[in-house]
Symmetry: C2
Subunit: 304 residues, 2 copies
Amino acid sequence: MSSPLPPLAAIRVFDAAARHASFTKAAEELGMTQAAVSYQIKLLEERIGAPLFLRRPRQVSLTEVGQQMAPAVADALNLLRDAYATARGGAQGILTVSTLLTFASNWLAQHLGSFHLAHPTLAVRLDTSNHLVDFTREEVDVAIRSGGGEWPGMAVHKLFDADFTPMLSPGLAASIGGVHEPADLLRLPILDPGDPWWREWFSRAGQPVDWLAERPGSSMGAQAYEARAAMAGQGVAIVTRALFSAEIAEGRLIQPFDIVGNDGNAYWLVYPEGRRNVAKIRVFRDWLLAEVEASLGNTGPRAA
Amino acid sequence: MSSPLPPLAAIRVFDAAARHASFTKAAEELGMTQAAVSYQIKLLEERIGAPLFLRRPRQVSLTEVGQQMAPAVADALNLLRDAYATARGGAQGILTVSTLLTFASNWLAQHLGSFHLAHPTLAVRLDTSNHLVDFTREEVDVAIRSGGGEWPGMAVHKLFDADFTPMLSPGLAASIGGVHEPADLLRLPILDPGDPWWREWFSRAGQPVDWLAERPGSSMGAQAYEARAAMAGQGVAIVTRALFSAEIAEGRLIQPFDIVGNDGNAYWLVYPEGRRNVAKIRVFRDWLLAEVEASLGNTGPRAA
DNA sequence: ATGATGAATCAATCTACCTTATGCATGATA
DNA sequence: TATCATGCATAAGGTAGATTGATTCATCAT
């Protein structure tokens, strides 16, 4: 069914030589020596079994066979050039980000607008799920992960520590005359008191913790819902501070104390080591790090 | 204007891998190892900046980028395959033979018919001229030359020695009661007595030569005309014996003596060393040598 | 004549590619 | 559940083939 392919390196050389009608010029274009061009052409001619060029005094010219072959070769190579270019460019058109649900809804969603402004040609596709993506088997460019920052073969950039701290609405705080010390919180409804984060935080704050229910595993994924309840004034939530800097800035939530708990995790930008220099990844990384920096900077720790 | 070409070796591998959706199968098709395929794909992916395959458990599958690229690559490679195939085949369609005028008209013309019968798909184009073709600057596949058989870089096959000997028509011979010894010729008109071949031949035949006009250079190129005159009974011609074996066989000429002159030349089939194994050249060479052998064999030296 | 240009050739070098060997993950099988 | 089979990735190493640099040769221009 399929005839053999010609030696492709020689084909590339032939194309250049045919276009220039000169081995020397072709060598220049290809960044090699005239000798190498001569060698490759000879090779191709031997494979074909017929000369491709007539060696005239001051220039070479195509034989009939060469004339017949040159346009087809040019077409084929142009096809390849196009396909290659679009593959490289096409890859730049869409950036797929695998993010944690909490990060997507509480941070990325609000900030992506500025990214689009800065890079209007690059569409961002969010892939929101909490499972650990495997870059080798899913079409994902970068991921936001929380954890210790140790993933072999991955390039990682820390976005912020997963510090958690109580949050509540200004209205709720006012209802008891303001929240001035940790003990004040005990007079308010605690949202999801089973979350181990509470235990950790209250002990850091020097408060008794024995009254708290004990339940393994934090409710991480549900932070958005708790925060919503807190903003509605239904109680005090304990959430990752950095994820709600916008709400604090807007006055919808207050962080009454600097005291934070931390279970050793942080949020990270992660992508395969080998793709460090891919344009769209570089662009996103630079933007994200700068944006995170800014969003942490302009909300002082105590915004109450 | 022109974007860069992708690494072509990798492209060839990609095409196979995409078609098979398997690196292992691709490796088989290409006659290399799975490791080599893996290497080339990885190389291409790095150049493109995006994965081309998703590595699923028991098989690989194309990413979006890969899916987009595969058909274009397939098209391009098919173009190349076609161009290559026609270049190889097209070269086989026509065989250009540069021949000496005398050989073309006195030998080739009569024998080419059998070549066409044996190889109906191969058209022979005769390029009849007496100048020494330069294979590097003219589109010629093989040449018939006369000379010493020493041409550097050329493959040569001797067809026959350029023995020359007198020839005349049977009628003319009969007009003097038959030609039995060299001296008998002196009673007949000698065609072109200035040809040095006569001098050489008569001296070999033990006859005086001082009566012959002296002129440098033989009339080689005019042998066909002299032979025609001889056949018409106008005199005795001295010509290259082997070129007229057909006329002897047909009884239109007779070669009265075995005695031949020879100036050291022979007729040769010549072609560039490097093209020894080109199919059409091999075919022509084999046919020509066999045909010459036969044409010399079935005309005994003395056909009078 | 003389020099300039462009290709062929040769020997020496180098490097990109391939192979071998191995490891790893996943499905299939018992 | 343990074992086996399959398929890809990776590392190390060797080699063929490509490339270079120097030279030659032929031709054309001055």
